[in-house]
């Protein structure tokens, strides 16, 4: 078995016939947090969508191995069962479905996939309470309809709450910082940091340095025009902040 949790090799992907990813390669080992930065339209969100298995995104070449398995052959729910989690940039509203019912369905579907019995009502409620505290959500949150009428900050906290409930091996945070004020950003970042562990890994996709002040990455990749043009340590973030994306690249 590979030393890496996720291995992306020469990934090409298109949306409506237009090639967005033009050969992305990167490897992430357990315990690592990688930041993927880049200007608008670089392909950051396409990368996260392709990894999570979003329909309408066509992989035209390349491979992705997750824990040694061919990730691209799996349906989105199978990817989730395997331990992958995507924190959405734009979480979707589902009217009439309470957070509680949604989480119960998600948690139990994943347990079922692993051959585990469903959580008892008491176990489930305990878990809910614990994870809601992590992102500072109050009790009434559990009864709210999924993302309906949520503020931008609430939606993002809800994503991190779900991540905490699901406890994935590998998380992709897609522009989780966009639209957050400083307080919300701190809550979200604290939530993410609390979930870091030597077995787990994450990709943090962001446009700005802001989030990376709170979630310190081990490796930073700069994505431009569908390719990774530079990989380095956290010092790369400072360079971007000073010089912008213009000066970086081939």
């Amino acid at each position: 078995m590979s030393e890496y949790l996720l291995e992306i090799n020469d990934l090409h992907a298109s949306v409506s016939g237009k090639e967005i990813l033009k050969g992305v390669s990167l490897c992430i080992a357990p315990g690592e947090v990688h930041a993927v930065m880049g200007p608008n339209g670089a392909g950051k969100s396409t990368l996260s969508a392709v990894l999570a298995g979003r329909p309408d995104y066509e992989v035209t070449a390349g491979t992705v191995l997750f824990r040694g398995r061919d990730l691209l052959a799996l349906s989105p729910e199978e990817r989730s069962w395997a331990g992958l989690f995507l924190s959405f940039q734009y979480p979707v509203e589902i009217p009439g479905v309470s957070i509680t019912n949604f989480m119960k369905a998600a948690v139990n579907a994943r347990r079922k996939a692993r051959g585990l019995p469903e959580l008892s009502a008491a176990e489930f409620l305990k878990l809910m309470k614990e994870k809601m505290a992590l992102v500072q959500m109050k009790g009434e949150f559990a009864r709210r309809e999924l993302n309906v009428g949520f503020s931008g900050g609430e939606k993002k906290r809800n994503e991190i709450f779900q991540m905490a409930m699901i406890d994935p091996l590998f998380s992709i945070l897609d522009e989780t910082d966009s639209g957050l004020d400083v307080d919300a950003l701190r809550i979200v970042a604290d939530g993410v940091n609390a979930l870091r562990s030597p077995e787990k890994a994450a990709i943090v996709i962001t446009h700005y340095k802001r989030l990376l002040d709170y979630i310190r990455p081990d490796v930073v990749h700069i994505l431009k025009e569908g390719r990774i043009v530079r990989t380095g340590g956290p010092e790369l973030v400072e360079q971007i902040e000073k010089e912008g994306y213009e000066g970086i690249g081939a």
Binding site: V92, A113, E145, I166
Partner: protein, 485 residues
């Protein structure tokens, strides 16, 4: 076409776990409809002459009527002479009071308790429900009759009521749905067999939910039950009905009439979970459910609420309606109608506001999947005396896939400038984004659709009595099977 669209459009056969047939000796009247058949049915039930005359009068009217054609439905042709109008399980002559074990087993399998459980130390289960179980044309058991009668509540089969409470039956029969109301109501009036009779006397709150369960079993037959519910002044009751039928390639006709009378300050809550056999994935077979249900809020301050979850039947033609006659009376109609495969539903309500300050609320949630057609049809009428009356209607349609249809036919007739009518309507599709979001959390597409649909229908499901709501939720999921693969 994207992948999840293909998933949505793929079909497999639908699971209908109530589709079995009970092997039991049954007696039938000969096929077809005539005066002789009606006399035969009436004689079998040992009916008084006034009821026979009622039937014969209805038959003469029905012969002059034609089936309504205004529904947004392709109704297969019905040969009314090719139907058996009465079928009943034979009772052993030496033990006529006993329930046939095959019937007991049938209702056990359907989860319908037709025996009262033993009461230990006088403590009754709070969730107990009185059941009237109807098998083809006859009621085979009615539970808690005695317990209820201690408070003056009458709960029995319609045939029993004819013999034991003829004055009440004569007073109220056809008082809400006149014989000539429509073609199918007239047909029902010719040949009706058992349904339930409920009467809750003045000031009595019925201590348990009342329910009827209708089971079609015999082939070549139709079911024509008649239910009459009366809540006298200040009385209250909650009534639930359920129904199922075997899977067959031929259609079977179900033409029922339900009448509800709500007197001054009385309260009736009527809930239906309709799960007739819907036909197979290719549109073969299924029940033709052509039903007339109507209530009248006769007295001031009376209240009638309809809650229905319609998932079954090949064709549903049904408009539970309320005549708001009493001043300040009120009514609600909460409906979820789900159609899949080749099912067709044309369902809705009529709210006829006659009294001052009357209120009504309509919440209709249509869900169409497969190649089905789902229509909401409603009438809100404000009479000249309905000063200050108010209606609010909300009609939502949800489409799953791209080959189904959703239609809304709301009619508002306002003869009163001092009445208010509000109408809102939405149409939505389950979006790929919603599906992907749930899938990415580990929820498989079929379960994801069921979750979205249950959320969409929540406002209505919440109105159902607890256990019924749980059943309805499961039913919505099962009925969607095959809508996503």
């Amino acid at each position: 076409m994207s992948r999840s669209n293909q998933t949505i459009d793929r079909f497999t056969s639908q699971e209908y776990k109530e589709g079995f047939v009970t092997q039991v000796a049954q007696e039938f009247v000969p096929k077809g409809l005539s005066e002789e058949i009606i006399r035969l049915i009436s004689a079998k039930k040992d009916e008084p002459d006034w009821l026979l005359q009622f039937r014969l009068d209805a038959f003469r009217r029905w012969q002059k009527m034609t089936p309504p054609s205004w529904g947004h439905l392709h109704l297969p042709p019905i040969d009314f002479q090719d139907i058996i109008y009465y079928a009943a399980p034979k009772r052993p002559e030496d033990r006529p009071k006993e329930i046939d074990p095959a019937l007991q087993e049938t209702f056990d399998k359907l989860g319908i308790p037709i025996r009262e459980r033993e009461v230990l130390a006088g403590v009754r289960d709070k969730r107990e429900v009185a059941v009237d179980a109807v098998f083809d044309s006859v009621s085979v058991a009615t539970t808690f009759r005695k317990t209820l009668s201690e408070q003056g509540i009458i709960f029995c089969s319609f045939s029993e009521a004819v013999h034991e409470h003829p004055d009440l039956v004569r007073k109220y029969l056809a008082s809400v749905v006149p014989v000539g109301d429509n073609f199918y109501a007239a047909l029902n009036s010719d040949v009706f067999s058992d349904g339930s009779f409920c009467y809750v006397p003045k000031g009595v709150k019925c201590p348990m939910d009342l329910s009827s369960y209708f089971r079609i079993n015999a082939s070549g037959t139709g079911q024509f039950e008649r239910t009459l519910i009366v809540a006298d002044e200040g009385a209250s009751l909650s009534y639930m009905e359920g129904c199922t039928a075997p899977m067959r390639d031929e259609h079977q006709l179900h033409a029922a009439v339900v009448e509800i009378v709500v007197e001054k300050d009385a309260d009736v809550r009527y809930s239906t979970v309709q799960n007739w056999y819907p036909g197979d994935a290719e549109g073969r077979g299924g029940i033709l459910n052509l039903v007339t249900k109507r209530g009248i809020c006769r007295g001031s301050g009376s209240h009638l609420s309809w809650t229905q979850v319609e998932t079954g039947s090949a064709v549903t033609w049904k408009y539970p309606s309320t005549i708001l006659k009493g001043d300040f009376s009120s009514s609600e109609f909460y409906s979820v109608a789900l159609t899949n495969n080749f099912q067709q539903a044309d369902t809705g309500t009529k709210m006829i506001h006659l009294g001052r300050g009357t209120r009504s609320r309509i919440v209709s949630k249509g869900i169409s999947a497969g190649r089905s057609e789902n229509s909401y049809r409603g009438l809100v009428q404000m009479g000249p005396a309905a000063d200050g009356a108010r209606n609010y209607s909300q009609c939502d349609s949800l489409l799953i896939g791209s080959r189904c249809g959703a239609h809304t036919f709301p009619v508002i007739k306002g003869a009163n400038p001092r009445a208010t009518v509000e109408h809102e309507a939405t149409t939505s599709k389950i979006s790929e984004d919603q599906l992907f979001y749930l899938q990415s959390r580990g929820i498989a597409p079929e379960e994801a659709v069921a979750l979205i649909v249950n959320g969409y229908a929540r406002e209505v499901l919440q109105r159902l009595p607890m256990e019924f709501a749980v059943e309805a939720q499961k039913l919505l999921s099962v009925s969607l099977e095959g809508a996503v693969g």
